[in-house]
C-alpha cells in the first residue's frame, strides 16, 4: 500500500512537470513560428505568383521608397496617438469620479454599466457611429430640425471620425485600468497629506496622479497596440482620403496576394509597437523608483 502511494506520488511529480508544455508547444507552433515565417517571408519575393526564397532587402527598399506606404504608417501612428491621448483625457476624470465620488456600494454597478457597451459587436461598433454622424444621421437631423445648421455637417468618412470611433471604445478600456489603479491607493495617504496641510489640488497632483500613472500607462499601451492594428474602424469610418497601415496590409493580402509586402508592413507595425513598449516600460519603471 505504501509503495503504491509512493509510486503515484512519483508519477504525479512527472505529470506536473509536463503540465505547462502543451500550452508552450501550442504557443510555439501557432504564434512564434508564424511570426518567424512572416519575418522570413519579408525577405522573399513573389516571382510569377509563387513565393521564392530570394533573401533580399528589396521589399524593405520598396516600402521606404513608396511615399504612400510610409505615409500609411505615419498616419497610423498619428491617429493612434491622438486617440490614445483623448481617451486618457476623457477616461481619467471618469475613473476618478467612479473611485472617489460614487458611493462604494454603487461603484461596481456603475463601473459595469459604464463598460457594458464594450461587448457591442466589434464589426458593428464603427457602423453604429456612422448612424450617428453620417449626413442623414441622428446628429445632423436633430441639429437641422432645431435650426442650428442649414447644411448637414460632414463628419463621417474622415480622420476625425476614425479617432472618434477609437476614443469611444478605448475610453471604456482605460476607465477600467485607471479605476483599478485608483482604488488601490490607500486613503491614509490622502489623510496624511491633508493633515500636513496640503490643499486638495496639491493632494491630487503630488499623490493621486503620480500613483495612478501605472494604470494610465497600462491602459494607454493596450489602447495603442489594439488601435494601431485595427482594420475595421478606419475602413468604415475613415473614408477614402487616407489609408492606415492595417488597410494597406489587407489590400496587399486580399487584392494582390503579395505576402512579402504584407509581411514587410506587418514587421514595420511590430517595430513601432516594440518601440512604444520600451518607451512605456521605461516610464513605468521610472515611476516605481
Amino acid at each position: 500500500m505504501l509503495s503504491k502511494a509512493r509510486l503515484t506520488k512519483r508519477k504525479g511529480f512527472e505529470f506536473t512537470r509536463w503540465a505547462v508544455h502543451p500550452a508552450l508547444l501550442f504557443t510555439f507552433l501557432f504564434f512564434i513560428l508564424p511570426l518567424l515565417a512572416m519575418l522570413i517571408v519579408s525577405f522573399w519575393q513573389r516571382i510569377g505568383g509563387k513565393l521564392t526564397a530570394t533573401w533580399t532587402f528589396a521589399n524593405y527598399n520598396k516600402f521606404f521608397s513608396k511615399d504612400y506606404l510610409v505615409e500609411a504608417l505615419v498616419n497610423s501612428v498619428e491617429v493612434t496617438l491622438t486617440a490614445t491621448v483623448i481617451s486618457v483625457l476623457i477616461a481619467y476624470p471618469l475613473a476618478y469620479i467612479l473611485a472617489f465620488r460614487v458611493p462604494v456600494r454603487w461603484q461596481r454597478f456603475v463601473l459595469i454599466f459604464t463598460i457594458l457597451p464594450f461587448w457591442t459587436a466589434y464589426v458593428v461598433r464603427s457602423y453604429s457611429w456612422l448612424l450617428v454622424i453620417s449626413e442623414n444621421g441622428i446628429i445632423n437631423v436633430i441639429m437641422t430640425s432645431l435650426g442650428l445648421i442649414d447644411q448637414p455637417l460632414e463628419m463621417a468618412y474622415s480622420r476625425g471620425a476614425t479617432v472618434l470611433g477609437f476614443v469611444h471604445f478605448f475610453t471604456m478600456l482605460m476607465t477600467l485600468t485607471i479605476y483599478a489603479n485608483l482604488v488601490q491607493i490607500k486613503p491614509t495617504y490622502h489623510k496624511a497629506a491633508a493633515d500636513l496641510g496640503a490643499s486638495p489640488l496639491q493632494i491630487f497632483f503630488r499623490i493621486t496622479l503620480p500613483l495612478s500613472i501605472p494604470g494610465v500607462a497600462v491602459g494607454a499601451f493596450i489602447t495603442f497596440v489594439i488601435a494601431i492594428g485595427d482594420y475595421i474602424n478606419p475602413q468604415i469610418l475613415g473614408g477614402g482620403n487616407e489609408v492606415l497601415i492595417p488597410q494597406a496590409i489587407i489590400l496587399q493580402v486580399s487584392r494582390a496576394a503579395n505576402f512579402p509586402m504584407a509581411s514587410v508592413m506587418s514587421v514595420m507595425l511590430m517595430v513601432v509597437v516594440i518601440v512604444v513598449y520600451f518607451v512605456s516600460a521605461k516610464h513605468l519603471k521610472m515611476e516605481r523608483v
Binding site: T16, F31, W119, T120, G137, H168, T171
Partner: protein, 264 residues
C-alpha cells in the same frame, strides 16, 4: 445637501460621458426595429421586419452556427491548455518560470492582424488551405494568454495544500487534477471559458483572413456593411451584442454564486 452640491459637476460629467458611450448603442438597437429601408431618423416602428429578414438569410444563419461552434470549441481548448499550464506553474515553480510566463503572455502584445497574417503565411507555405479549423486555432492563440492569467491568478497556497492532501490520500495525478483541483478551480475555469467564447464569437480579422467558404458571423456582417446603411445590419449587430452581454452577465452571476458558496 453640501455633498450633493460638491458632487454636481462630477455627476454631470458622469452623465455626459455615459451619454457619449451609450449614444451609438442606443441608435443601433433602436433602428434595428425601424419600419423602413434606412436606419436613420425619423423612426417608424417598432417593427420586427428586419429580424425576420435576418433569420431568413441562410448564409447568415450558417455563419452564426459556425461562430457558435468555433467559439465553444476554441474556448474549451483554450481553457484546457490554460488550466494545465497554470497548474504546472502553480504546483511547482518550474525552471525558467519567468521565461515561460513571458512566452505564454507574449501574444497579448501583438495585434490580432499580425497574428492572422503570420498564420495565413504559414498555411500558405505549408500548403494547407484556409478553413474554420484554422480560425479556431487563431482564436486559441489570442485567448490563451488571458485564460492562463485568469486561472493562474486563482491558484495559491490553499490549492497546493488541497493537492498534497489528495495525493496523501492516494489519489493519482489524474484523479487529483480532475476531481480535486478542477473542482476547486471551477469559478475561474468557467470565467475563462466564457471570456474566451465571447471574444472568439466577436472576433473579426483572424476569421476574415483564415476562413474560406465557412465564414463566421462577424465576416458576414462585414460583407453586409459594404452595401451601406441597412437596418438588417442593425438587427445582426443587436443580436451579437445581446448574445455577448447575456453570456457575460450569466458568467458574472454564476462565478459570484460559485465563489460565495465556497466561502460558506
Amino acid at each position: 445637501m453640501r455633498t450633493w452640491v460638491r458632487n454636481t459637476p462630477a455627476a454631470i460629467y458622469l452623465l455626459v460621458v455615459l451619454a457619449f458611450i451609450y449614444l451609438p448603442v442606443v441608435v443601433l438597437v433602436l433602428f434595428s426595429f425601424q419600419d423602413g429601408p434606412l436606419p436613420v431618423p425619423p423612426f417608424n416602428g417598432p417593427s420586427l421586419h428586419w429580424y425576420e429578414k435576418m433569420f431568413g438569410n441562410e448564409r447568415l444563419i450558417a455563419s452564426l452556427i459556425n461562430s457558435v461552434v468555433v467559439a465553444i470549441l476554441s474556448a474549451v481548448v483554450t481553457t484546457f491548455l490554460g488550466f494545465l499550464a497554470a497548474y504546472g506553474m502553480a504546483r511547482r515553480t518550474p525552471r525558467f518560470a519567468g521565461g515561460i510566463r513571458f512566452s505564454l503572455m507574449a501574444p497579448l502584445t501583438v495585434s490580432y492582424l499580425i497574428i492572422g497574417i503570420g498564420l495565413l503565411i504559414t498555411l500558405n507555405i505549408v500548403g494547407i488551405s484556409k478553413s474554420l479549423f484554422a480560425v479556431g486555432i487563431g482564436h486559441v492563440v489570442i485567448n490563451l494568454p488571458l485564460c492562463f492569467a485568469i486561472i493562474y491568478s486563482q491558484f495559491g497556497d490553499h490549492t497546493r495544500n488541497i493537492d498534497d492532501a489528495a495525493r496523501d490520500l492516494g489519489a493519482s495525478d489524474f484523479q487529483t487534477l480532475l476531481h480535486v483541483i478542477a473542482h476547486v478551480m471551477k469559478p475561474s475555469l468557467f470565467a475563462s471559458f466564457c471570456l474566451s467564447a465571447t471574444l472568439s464569437w466577436d472576433e473579426f480579422i483572424i476569421a476574415f483572413l483564415l476562413s474560406r467558404f465557412d465564414v463566421t458571423l462577424p465576416v458576414i456582417i462585414f460583407e453586409m456593411l459594404r452595401s451601406g446603411l441597412t437596418p438588417e445590419v442593425n438587427a445582426a449587430g443587436t443580436l451579437v451584442f445581446a448574445i455577448s452581454v447575456t453570456t457575460v452577465i450569466a458568467a458574472a452571476i454564476t462565478v459570484s454564486a460559485l465563489t460565495s458558496g465556497r466561502k460558506k
